[in-house]
Symmetry: C2
């Protein structure tokens, strides 16, 4: 079947075009053929468009995930005997949760092997945030990664070239052929990388709202369900939380600013929503790892690890193991800062009814915290410090936020857009932090 | 708009993917960008798949046709003052009509400038049939083409590289990306070439049935309507006849065999269906050219040109102008013949109820009359001589047909399939030659 599939990729395109299902062997043949050049880019893009418009069913999505996973190395992590639980967020604005969550669960006896990404579009990337720490290296070879996990219990690295190479090539092709927005293709892309770490469980943070890729609950639920079902089909115990992403998470957007906030949380401080999101995701990880039998018991363990400094200590060890300056754990002022910092003042008094994560995400990118072209470097100090959250009162002339960048001109160009992202007065829409919990 | 379209081809893919309409300028930009390399093959194939699955409306189809036409040279043919009417068939089995029709209408004062094609799949190609005439050259430069049209009134040539180059590249891409079977894409491909000859009118022979690309009347009607509407939108007076293509046309399949049958028709002989199809298409051409005001009057002119030898004389002149051996007009035995000729005998007596054009088309290709790979040469002598048509009686042991090829082994390999293409006994399904006539 595999040979046949590769003899004529057009047959596989026609099958999907005409709304039929491909067999597991055909999907495996398509991906293998794409990697070895027997399926051309222009054939794969036609197939991807047909798949986007006609859909892939659960079995096909699982087969695609497996084929992409098998295109590269699967880490055994055999010497890591403690339960290994991964966490993945679909991307948001101000989402620094992984930075505090990984050392926190490690302090509670759960190993967190995470392969993280760069900023994409208006959202930040965990790797960019970690690299704000002087010296931190996100590239570890598999043996070093395994050793850090064994010794520290938490390690966050980038996707090396031998992890799911089919995903890297397919993602680049989807990006330039209008075939990104397909739930089955997104699922296969995410899970092929997650399965490669050989974790025992996965907690998904599926974000929904103005600052997320999924703007409405129905789409987020569709993605969350497809992720959970496909992951479980692949033998990975998985839970997804659908969480609100209308306003930025916490009080900071931008790499060093967010790393600092994560450190604040590890000091048992920091904004309440950042702390709460860290705790609810940590509860799921501890329960999946069978570290505790209830989420309530898990929370008690997690809160103790924040209070007694053991989570912060794990963070420092993780940073050191990655070659970074571990002194930032106690002295976050060592993190890089922007040269220019300009307040954004409220034009009238009132209650802040909306802070738009989408707009502020793009403002932060423009200030230098993100990229508009793949080859750009990010400015670790750039970003936004928020002074008020939705629901809080602000007086006229008081600062809503500080914009931080390397040059005044970068800030001036964003003042108007930033101002418009804050609505003072008007109806306050209350948002639950966790909207749904999906287990199947 | 054009510059913008080329800055980001992904936007144009997304638009079509999401079921929106592209503006004329966007379609023009897409095609121009594809030709100059700013739109990659993998982007065009994704767009083609989106267009196939989402559709193109009439305006978009017309814009695509225009953009493809404008990608190359448009022949003025200004020195040809008589009305110029083109004819196009969507392809069938035994379809040698162009060979007798072009000189026939020329003899009646209508110029026939035809750009013809090669065999495709199970169907034959007019160029391959003409090349069965010793010396006949299908490549004429535009000035020579114009001169032949001026002096003879009929010329059939191949598509030169400067006619609609976008169509040639797009067709090659569609062929390997599963994006052939789309009515708007087929329409744009056909009409971009037809418009390039600068004709005053176009008669379309849209074939339907077992031996055609369109197997049912609804599909043929959809294609015919789209062709007529798009052509009229481009200012080309057009009529389409939907004609039956269940059984082969006439009594011959294969290049020299079909050329000989066309010569028979020009001698006022030949099979009645070949003659009748030539006459009904000729009627439409004469009326479109305003040579006569009614189809009945047109038929009288055409029949006279067959009877008085003037059509045959035009054929000889056309062949001579193309460098071919014009003696074949009076001595068709000069055409190449196959070395081996084997009768296919009826296994029992009865009325022949069905002769399957699709099966015999493929048998003829396998005997050497067509290609299974683009670079193959065709055998001019190979093919099938039919001895009986559907509705006629045949006695047991009498020949149904003769199979002709260069080697006995080629014939032996096809005997079973050829036999199965003839059904003796059973219900005879009568077929009208012309099923519908579409004028808008």
């Amino acid at each position: 079947m595999r040979a046949r599939a590769l003899e004529n990729p057009v047959e596989l395109i026609l099958k999907k075009r005409d709304g039929k299902q491909l067999s597991d062997a055909e999907i495996q043949g398509l991906i293998a053929g794409y990697l070895d050049g027997r399926v051309a880019d222009y054939q794969m893009s036609a197939w991807l468009m047909a798949a986007l418009l006609r859909g892939l069913d659960e079995r096909e999505t699982a087969a695609l995930t497996r084929a992409m996973l098998r295109s590269g190395k699967v880490l055994g992590l055999k010497s890591v005997t403690a339960p290994k639980i991964d966490k993945h967020s679909t991307g948001g604005v101000g989402d620094k949760i992984s930075l505090c969550l990984a050392p926190l669960v490690a302090a509670c006896g759960v190993v967190a092997p995470m392969i993280a990404g760069r900023g994409l579009g208006h959202t930040g990337g965990t790797l960019d945030k970690l690299e704000a720490i002087p010296g931190y290296r996100v590239e570890l070879d598999p043996r070093r990664f395994e050793r850090v996990l064994r010794e520290v219990g938490a390690s966050i690295i980038g996707q090396s070239s031998d992890i799911a190479p089919a995903d890297r090539r397919l993602y680049a092709l989807r990006d330039v052929t209008g075939t990104v927005e397909s739930v089955p293709l997104i699922v296969a892309s995410i899970l092929s990388k997650k399965l490669a770490t050989g974790s025992d469980g996965l907690v998904l943070d599926v974000k929904v709202g103005r600052g997320a890729f999924m703007q409405d609950l129905a789409s987020a639920r569709e993605l969350g369900r497809a992720l959970v079902r496909t992951a479980r089909r692949a033998g990975l115990a998985t839970v997804a939380l659908i969480t609100d992403m209308n306003a930025p998470i916490g009080r900071s957007i931008g790499n060093a600013l967010e790393t600092r906030e994560a450190i604040d949380v590890l000091h048992d401080q920091g904004p309440s929503d950042t702390r709460e999101l860290t705790l609810v995701l940590g509860e799921e990880m501890l329960v999946l790892a069978r570290r505790t039998s209830s989420r309530r018991a898990a929370r008690a363990l997690l809160e103790r690890a924040l209070a007694d400094g053991s989570a912060l200590e794990r963070f420092a060890r993780m940073v050191r193991a990655h070659g970074g300056d571990a002194r930032v754990a106690e002295h976050p002022e060592r993190l890089p800062r922007a040269r220019v910092r300009v307040p954004l003042l409220a034009k009238h008094s009132g209650t802040l009814s909306h802070v738009d994560a989408w707009e502020l995400g793009w403002v932060s990118v423009a200030l230098g915290a993100g990229r508009t072209r793949a080859e750009q470097a990010v400015d670790p100090g750039a970003g936004i410090e928020l002074c008020r959250s939705a629901g809080e009162r602000v007086g006229r002339g008081e600062p809503l936020a500080f914009l931080c960048a390397a040059k005044r001109s970068l800030i001036d160009a964003q003042l108007g857009r930033a101002q418009a992202a804050f609505r003072v007065g008007g109806r306050l829409t209350p948002h639950e932090l966790v909207l749904e919990r999906l287990t199947h």
